[in-house]
């Protein structure tokens, strides 16, 4: 087991929330005060009083547009970002489509529909972040890390993460730029990409998730303010994990970021995404679009640890997470989605793979944990268009408190796709008697050579298992954490190492107090 101190520092470093220095120091003092003898039990206590640990609000002076949405607002966003005319047209086309669309209500979630005129569509920190790279980090912070026995250089190596921090829809800092540039990898904010690499953006944006794809995708296409852009050239294996960290900071704003990852022929990239938001009484809207394009022989691994504010114990506040994620696989390409969903009041998210090229592979590994009044409707779509395409779906749902957790998936085999293969497994774990677990798997096979397998189970934590743990001196709360971790291990082991540690902790926090 990795000592706890390293653990925390990893979390902080990865988030790289430099704009947020005071929080940093607070965390570090906390660690200093505890010296080395920090036990799991103390952690539990801390977590109990802490509730949502990322619920801080950073007082960054920021520029926020008035609430409301109109063509004028879109033109203003576009002007502010100094975008070329084709981008403005593209946005306006999306907006016009959006005005004709209706909000979907087929998902198994209940909520007060957001008023789209009561949201501010642009909020950006006025001052640019102080730290452009790790070298500029406050010496005191460095000192603290040294005391912990980890030099920053080592940290850098250990985490090996290049981070693009997006606060309130505007990219604040991108680290490790130089290392990446040497390899020809482009990793920057999407606004920068629109300026610098318009031909790439123009060629690929909206090709996987068209503007008219769905209500939220259309909204995002119209108003997205920033996001990440990544291009891996032919045959390049990205030497480090690329990461984006999203944060909604301002009140009354929605976050609409757009991520575009293009892996050229034969390249490889592993991409991480983390999300947090301050604890607020109101509901905040997050409607992102992620497009992945894996050209021939390329591989993209996309991992998400989503920890938006889930609302308080009574179900007030929390983030509405309505995200469209989709990847397109060309010949022999592979896209792998891994997600750990612990946050958000409402999750509506279906990372999908379109297996267009022959021999392409799609994978989906997911853990969704819901507690208190959270509602999650999440799953995946695997669309098999090419011959010999394969897909794997492993979905684990854990529901506790008064939450509802749904898996909704689609496996579609087109008539011309020969010898396709799919395996799906979705398991649900129920804790307590006030929550629900649901599965809606759709299987559509139009080819006789397809082999599709689907299995799902729902159960509770076995009393025998709990008893066994108790008998060995492990208390119930810990035993549950242990069992849930075991239940999810199939997915957790797909995460990059340091992310897995964070995810494991998140699972424990999310299930806090769910033992009846």
């Amino acid at each position: 087991m990795i000592p706890f101190q390293i653990d925390i520092s990893l979390v902080n470093l990865r988030n790289n929330d430099y704009s947020n220095y005071s929080y940093y120091c607070w965390r570090i003092q906390e660690i200093k005060g505890q010296k080395m003898a920090y036990t799991e039990k103390e952690l539990q206590e801390k977590l109990e009083t802490q509730e949502y640990q990322y619920g801080f609000y950073t007082d960054i002076e920021s520029e926020t547009f008035d609430k409301g949405l109109s063509e004028e607002v879109i033109r203003k966003i576009s002007a502010r970002k100094e975008e070329p005319p084709w981008m403005v047209d593209w946005r306006l086309r999306a907006f016009r489509t959006w005005t004709k669309m209706k909000e979907p209500n087929w998902a198994n979630v209940q909520y007060q529909k957001p008023d789209f005129q009561d949201i501010s569509y642009y909020s950006a920190p006025k001052k640019k972040s102080k730290y452009k790279s790790l070298d500029e980090v406050d010496p005191e912070l460095l000192e603290t890390f040294k005391k912990l026995g980890i030099s920053l250089e080592e940290q850098k190596r250990l985490t090996g993460v290049a981070v693009d921090v997006v606060v309130d829809s505007v990219s604040v800092a991108t680290t490790f730029k130089k290392t990446l540039e040497e390899k020809g990898i482009i990793f920057c904010s999407i606004s920068e990409a629109i300026q610098k690499y318009p031909e790439l953006v123009k060629k690929y944006i909206g090709t996987v998730v068209p503007q008219r794809d769905n209500f939220y995708a259309a909204l995002n296409s119209a108003v997205f303010t920033d996001g990440s852009f990544c291009y891996i050239p032919k045959g390049v294996r990205c030497p480090m994990e690329l990461s984006t960290y999203f944060r909604i900071n301002q009140a009354g704003t929605g976050q609409f970021e757009r991520t575009l990852v293009i892996a050229d022929k034969g390249s490889y990239v592993s991409y991480l995404e983390g999300c947090t938001a301050p604890a607020r009484d109101e509901n905040q809207l997050h409607a992102a679009v992620v497009e992945l394009i894996a050209l021939e022989d390329a591989e993209i691994k996309y991992s998400t640890v989503q920890n938006w504010f889930p609302g308080d114990k009574e179900g007030h506040g929390g983030v509405f997470n309505f995200v469209t994620k989709r990847g397109l696989c060309h010949r022999r390409a592979k896209i792998s989605w891994t997600q750990v969903e612990t946050g958000s009041a409402i999750t509506w998210k279906y990372p999908s793979c379109i297996l267009k090229g022959d021999y392409s592979i799609g994978e989906f590994y997911s853990i969704a944990v819901t507690n208190n009044h959270q509602q999650a409707d999440t799953g995946t779509k695997m669309v098999h268009l090419g011959n010999n395409t394969r897909s794997t779906i492993i979905s684990k749902g854990v529901s506790a408190g008064k939450s509802q957790n749904s898996y909704r998936g689609l496996v579609q085999i087109s008539p011309r796709a020969q010898n396709t293969r799919n395996f799906s497994q979705c398991d649900s774990l129920l804790m307590g008697n006030n929550c629900g677990a649901h599965t809606f798997p759709y299987i559509e096979s139009k080819n006789s050579s397809a082999q599709i397998e689907h299995e799902a189970t729902t159960s509770k934590i076995g009393e025998e298992q709990l008893f066994y743990c108790n008998q060995r001196g492990i208390d119930t709360e810990k035993a549950i954490a242990l069992i849930v971790n075991g239940f999810s291990s199939e997915v957790l082991k797909k995460l990059p190492m340091e992310f897995a540690v964070e995810a494991r902790k998140l699972l424990e926090i999310s299930l806090e107090g769910s033992v009846g």
């Binding site: 008539p415 929550c435 677990a437 798997p441 759709y442 397809a450 599709i452 799902a456 509770k460």
Partner: protein, 440 residues
């Protein structure tokens, strides 16, 4: 939608001329149902429950709603559709009209009777008032349409602690007398505490002509009651069937419904179980063997509302030609229903490139101490097994039939009437055009 207009406009006239209700309660239920249908109309593919099945190809014909019914059929023409020539209770309808000549009803001790008789006789009023249209949900437009027009069908009432000696057959023939026919049979089956019944239902057209049957069956199983219900769907390619069956189970009852869908233009089976007591057992089995342009949609719902209940679903599908199969199974477990054990399995084999299989096994669970699982597969016959059979001198056609039969066999095994089992086996063999020795 023209046919809807026709149904709506003819309702009041028919109510005065044919239905002749003297029971205000029934009249009220009819009017309510009529309003529901008027509001909602026929379901479309926009509705989630009808996503994979479109009724629009059925609605273009000008159907006769109330056929004349004076068509005679010679017993020799329909003999082959009877399970036994004698020895069973039979309720036979020709074009929706009761045929006393071919039927064999029973009125002593328990009732194997007609729905129209039960509606109008005082002695059955209590049962009709209690159960008619109370088991079926009120919001379904097709059920509502049937309720509004409910006039004829089977009425089976088994009082406490009785067990009929032999199975009860419900047979619907369409003679082809009218160019296009829309039938709406309504069955009510009440099996009281501690009783048993075996029922076989079959719809058969004798001549190729467009016929649509919108059938609704309500089944009540009292405490400790046991019901086995078999549906044989092996109709001509011109006939369609929309079957809605609603089952209400009391404590310790066992109900099994076995559906063999072997032919028809469009078949839709809505099978709904509501478990209202403890320690109930529900079994749903299905075999689907399709070819040509046939389309079968199984939509099941098992609602576990009480603790310690079990349900078991097993559906096998074999699809050839450009046939389409749909399986939409749902298990709903209420918060109350702790210790539920629900199992659902759906296996499909696609034997041709144009055949389509859509499956949507759903679980909706609100109780934590349950064991629910489902499995769903779509695949082909095992090439190695086929090769093995061929290497032993079995021709490919026979080998395919044998493997398919073996695939469907564990569902067939659950048919407890030997004659019926043999009958279904023969039907499956004939679908594959092989002789597997069942005829001997």
């Amino acid at each position: 939608m023209e046919f809807k207009e026709k149904l709506l406009s003819s309702f009041f006239a028919l109510q005065e001329a044919v239905l002749l209700d003297d029971n205000p309660l029934i009249e009220d239920r009819r009017n309510q149902a009529f309003k529901t249908f008027e509001e909602k109309g026929f379901p479309t593919r926009q509705q989630e429950a009808w996503k994979y099945t479109s009724l629009s190809p059925l609605l273009s014909e000008d159907y006769v709603i109330f056929p004349s019914g004076d068509v005679g059929i010679h017993p020799n023409d329909v003999k082959k559709y009877f399970l036994y020539e004698m020895d069973t209770y039979k309720i036979v309808f020709i074009d929706g009209v009761y045929s006393p000549f071919l039927s064999n009803t029973h009125h002593d001790g328990f009732d194997v009777n007609l729905f129209s008789v039960a509606l109008n006789q005082k002695q059955h009023r209590r049962t009709i008032d209690t159960y008619f249209n109370t088991i079926a949900p009120s919001g379904e437009p097709l059920v509502a349409l049937n309720t509004a027009y409910a006039h004829e069908g089977a009425y089976i009432y088994i009082p406490k602690n009785k067990a009929p000696q032999s199975p009860i057959e419900i047979l619907h023939f369409s003679s082809g007398d009218s160019p296009a026919l829309w039938l709406q049979p309504r069955n009510l089956i009440v099996v009281e505490q501690g009783s048993e019944a075996q029922i076989i239902e079959r719809h058969q057209s004798l001549v190729e002509h467009p016929v649509v049957t919108n059938s609704v069956t309500e089944i009540y199983a009292g405490k400790n009651a046991s019901i086995e219900y078999y549906k044989i769907q092996d109709d001509l390619d011109s006939a369609s069937l929309i079957d809605s069956t609603f089952i209400h189970q009391e404590t310790h009852s066992h109900v099994s419904v076995h559906t063999s869908s072997l032919g028809g233009k469009i078949i839709r089976n809505n099978l709904n179980f509501h478990q209202a007591g403890k320690a109930i057992n529900s079994t749903l089995k299905g075999i689907t063997v399709l070819e040509g342009n046939q389309h079968v949609d199984h939509s099941t719902l098992v609602h576990h509302a009480q603790p310690h209940c079990e349900s078991h679903q097993d559906y096998k599908g074999i699809f050839r030609g450009s046939s389409q199969g749909v399986f939409n199974g749902k298990i709903l477990v209420d918060r109350m229903a702790q210790k539920t054990n629900a199992f659902q399995q759906n296996n499909n084999i696609i034997l041709s490139d144009k055949a389509v299989c859509n499956a949507k096994p759903q679980l909706e669970i609100f109780a934590d101490d349950v064991r629910c699982s489902h499995g769903c597969t779509v695949g082909q016959l095992d090439q190695n097994a086929l090769f093995y059979a061929q290497s032993r001198g079995i021709p490919i056609k026979e080998a395919e039939a044998l493997l398919t039969y073996a695939f469907a066999n564990n569902v067939l095994e659950s048919v407890s009437i030997p004659f019926l089992k043999k009958h279904i086996s023969l039907q499956i063999a004939s679908k594959f055009g092989v002789e597997m020795g069942f005829g001997v």
